[in-house]
């Protein structure tokens, strides 16, 4: 029960899906979890230079594919399915989308071009990862230098360039800080989710290059777009989990029968599939709305909330229905579970987004 994608979008998904399954199977993901980088650089090179995925939603004029939020969502969804750990989400989705929302200019355009080609890794730095439309915590001082702390930065250590959302005389601005700049203290932080790396950045009058201002609309749009991209990643993960769990229940025999023949398990899986289909429909719709199909301003928040809920439910079921083996380190299920937990709170938890959706509805009335 997929929502209606165009022929091209269906084909695009198929290509992305096949590429990821081929290039980044689970043993590759697991093999790099503890490596210095946390991902296979060769796979990333091929995903960018051969498949051009990093430029999916970056304008063609800047070297990207010029596609929209629907296609960005498709990539995120398939990466969620395969639990891809490379820097796509931080660099292309987070930093990329922030720059796209900024006014055109040489620094923005050059950065976007290099993000698209994969030669430069960036990430988005904000003072509050729970609310992307907030500009608290980081500010430009009178001398034009950057001050403040970003306590949680996705892929901080991987980025060559930090795209920082800061406050400048009450307004939101985007500035760029290159790795190696003075006045930056970077700390690696221990992430609950081993597939999502985190760091802390302190800026004590760091030299930064202005990218441009972000007005209220752009800021909210940025938040909406990243929530929707993340929501895609989540429903991809949820679907993978549900499928693999159902498959497990068909194979696993207890009491002389496959456990998938027990009605208690069947009903739980049926409920999850229903919940997933509704969430997926809203998530896909939200991307179309962002792509200008028109629609209601509350869909991004509903999408994030619903995707959060169904992902964590699928993750809990994934462990539970596997029994003890699902709770072991050796089994893969816990990696999705941890991704579900980290995605649940990233960019704001479900209850925050439910409240925001109602606020948007009130504003629209």
């Amino acid at each position: 029960m997929q929502s209606s994608f165009s022929q091209e979008q269906v084909l695009f998904r198929e290509i992305v899906s096949n590429t990821l399954r081929e290039l980044s199977p689970m043993d590759s993901v697991r093999g790099h979890l503890d490596s210095a980088l946390g991902y296979d650089p060769e796979v990333w090179r091929r995903l960018t230079s051969e498949s051009d995925l990093a430029g999916t939603h970056i304008p063609e004029t800047l070297g990207g594919a010029g596609l929209g939020d629907v296609e960005l969502g498709i990539v995120a969804e398939e990466m969620g399915r395969t639990l891809y750990t490379g820097p796509f989400f931080s660099s292309a989705a987070m930093a990329g989308t922030a720059l796209i929302e900024a006014p055109e200019g040489p620094l923005r355009d050059e950065t976007l071009g290099r993000i698209a080609s994969g030669e430069l890794l960036a990430t988005l730095v904000t003072g509050d990862l729970a609310d992307l439309s907030s500009i608290e915590g980081l500010r430009i001082d009178a001398a034009g230098a950057l001050r403040g702390e970003a306590p949680l930065v996705v892929d901080a250590a991987r980025a060559d360039r930090w795209i920082v959302l800061a406050e400048d005389q009450g307004e939101a601005v985007l500035v760029a800080v290159d790795r190696g700049a003075e006045g930056v203290v970077e700390t690696r932080r221990q992430s609950l989710d081993p597939t999502r790396r985190l760091g802390r950045l302190r800026f004590d009058g760091a030299v930064c290059a202005p990218v441009g201002p972000l007005d209220r609309t752009s800021l909210e749009r940025l938040s909406d777009r990243l929530c929707v991209a993340l929501a895609h990643e989540m429903i991809g993960g949820a679907r993978q989990l549900l499928e693999s769990t159902v498959e497990y229940t068909k194979q696993r025999v207890q009491f002389g029968r496959p456990i998938g023949s027990f009605q208690g398990l069947k009903h739980r899986c049926a409920d999850l599939l229903m919940e997933l289909e509704l969430a997926a429909a809203v998530v896909h719709h939200a991307a179309r709305v962002l792509d200008g199909a028109g629609g209601d301003a509350w869909t991004p928040s509903l999408a994030k909330a619903m995707a959060s809920d169904v992902y964590i439910e699928c993750a809990k079921a994934g462990i539970q229905l596997r029994g003890g083996i699902g709770f072991t380190w050796e089994d893969d299920t816990h990696l999705w579970y941890k991704r579900a937990k980290s995605s649940e709170v990233l960019f704001g938890a479900a209850h925050v987004h439910r409240e925001r959706a109602i606020q948007r509805m009130e504003a629209a009335q």
Partner: protein
């Protein structure tokens, strides 16, 4: 034929033939003879063999021009589609036209007190005596049976066959002494259903549909149309052209009679449409806990609408076969209705203590509160939908069956 072509052709035909001054009966004869009464039917039956999507285009043009279509609402459509699929030429000749014209109304006689979820467990007894089948037993949940002329009926003609193989499917004349119809009141006060008691009721042998012992296959056809909403009430759209003329009064009356059992169905679905305005009016928009539940509800409702649109598009493009994903939509409707009930209760607060015309929204909210439990039962319980989803969509293995072997040996109430 393209959509534009169809539009042109239908418009031209209506320009020439449609008149609101005709009587309903007269007009329907013109309509049927003109071949526009059921455009998705095969060509030998009045019509054109259109796809459902093409048929929808025809309906759209009728709607735009304010023209009245064939009689459609209620169980009669289930009967006509099933007869079309399984009937003899004689049956089609006799039954289809009066259905389209509105002359005959029909009811469905499948469920029994002892076979609810387990429809194939029907134990109404059918015995052949010469040229006549004699029927004895009780049916239940029969919408419109109190004014139906005919009924489509499932009964057991062979007790020594396994459950699904001993059933036959009959076209029953309701206007006979052996058929007694009693109204059945629901917990929300409505009487939308009936019980039907059969005491030596008779069906001529020629009105057995689809052959002896083939009843389950025929019933499956009916059920597939039911699942696809063929018995649904037409939505109460505001007409796009002014409607005046005697035919409209007749048509409205026909609709009203047919729709009467369904007036509470929107309440059964939870009336999500009323939630936001009610929350604002009652001051519940100030309550964060209510807002949380509203957002959950709106998310589910949006998802279900989008998913069903996608499924609908698939269906229109495709065939008449059962889409098991329909069960996901059915299950979702239950979840949504329950959540809507919960949210309406939170919004109303102690006002939810009241019912009747002086209560909120002229009693509509109270009706929601006592009607939503029906949606997870009628037309296949949530439990049955979950089984279908698990087994047919997810491919999970079936459990042990207790109802194999000759029907007379199967345990039942």
């Amino acid at each position: 034929m393209s959509s534009a072509q169809i539009r042109r052709e239908v418009s031209a035909w209506l320009q020439e033939n449609w008149s609101p001054q005709r009587s309903l009966r007269e007009w329907r004869d013109v309509l049927i003879d003109g071949g526009w009464a059921a455009p998705h039917w095969p060509e030998e039956y009045f019509v054109r063999g259109f796809t459902l999507e093409q048929a929808q285009t025809v309906a759209d043009v009728f709607e735009e021009m304010g023209a009245v279509g064939a009689a459609q609402v209620g169980p009669r459509r289930l009967a006509s589609e099933t007869i079309l699929a399984h009937g003899t030429d004689d049956q089609k000749e006799r039954f289809l036209r009066p259905i389209l014209s509105g002359e005959h109304s029909w009811c469905q006689l499948f469920s029994e007190p002892g076979s609810g979820s387990d429809l194939a467990g029907a134990s109404t007894r059918a015995e052949r005596r010469g040229d006549v089948w004699i029927l004895n037993g009780q049916k239940v949940w029969n919408t419109s049976a109190h004014h139906a002329d005919f009924g489509i009926l499932l009964a057991r003609s062979d007790w020594d066959q396994p459950k699904h193989q001993g059933l036959s499917y009959y076209l029953l004349d309701m206007r006979q002494p052996g058929v007694e119809v009693r109204p059945l009141q629901q917990m929300n006060g409505h009487q939308s259903f009936n019980e039907v008691f059969l005491t030596n009721a008779e069906v001529p042998a020629r009105d057995l549909l689809g052959g002896e012992g083939n009843g389950w296959a025929v019933a499956t056809t009916t059920l597939s149309f039911e699942r696809r909403g063929f018995s649904r009430r037409p939505r109460p759209d505001v007409p796009e052209v002014e409607r005046s003329g005697p035919i409209y009064a007749e048509f409205e009356k026909e609709l009203e009679t047919a729709n009467e059992p369904y007036t509470w169905y929107p309440q059964r679905e939870g009336r999500v449409d009323l939630v936001f305005q009610r929350a604002r009016a009652q001051g519940a928009l100030r309550e964060p806990a209510v807002r949380q539940e509203m957002a959950r509800l709106f998310g589910l409702a949006l998802g279900a609408r989008l998913a069903s649109e996608a499924a609908e598009a698939k269906r229109r493009a495709g065939t008449t076969q059962i889409i098991p994903e329909g069960s996901i939509g059915k299950l979702a409707a239950s979840v949504i209705a329950r959540q809507a009930n919960h949210v309406h209760t939170m919004i109303s607060g102690v006002d939810a203590l009241l019912t009747g015309p002086e209560s909120a929204e002229n009693g509509v909210i109270a009706e929601v509160l006592v009607s939503t439990p029906a949606i997870s039962i009628a037309g296949g319980t949530d439990e049955i939908q979950r089984n279908i989803i698990a087994e047919r969509v997810l491919g999970m293995p079936k459990g042990h069956r207790y109802d194999r072997g000759p029907f007379r040996d199967i345990r039942r109430n």
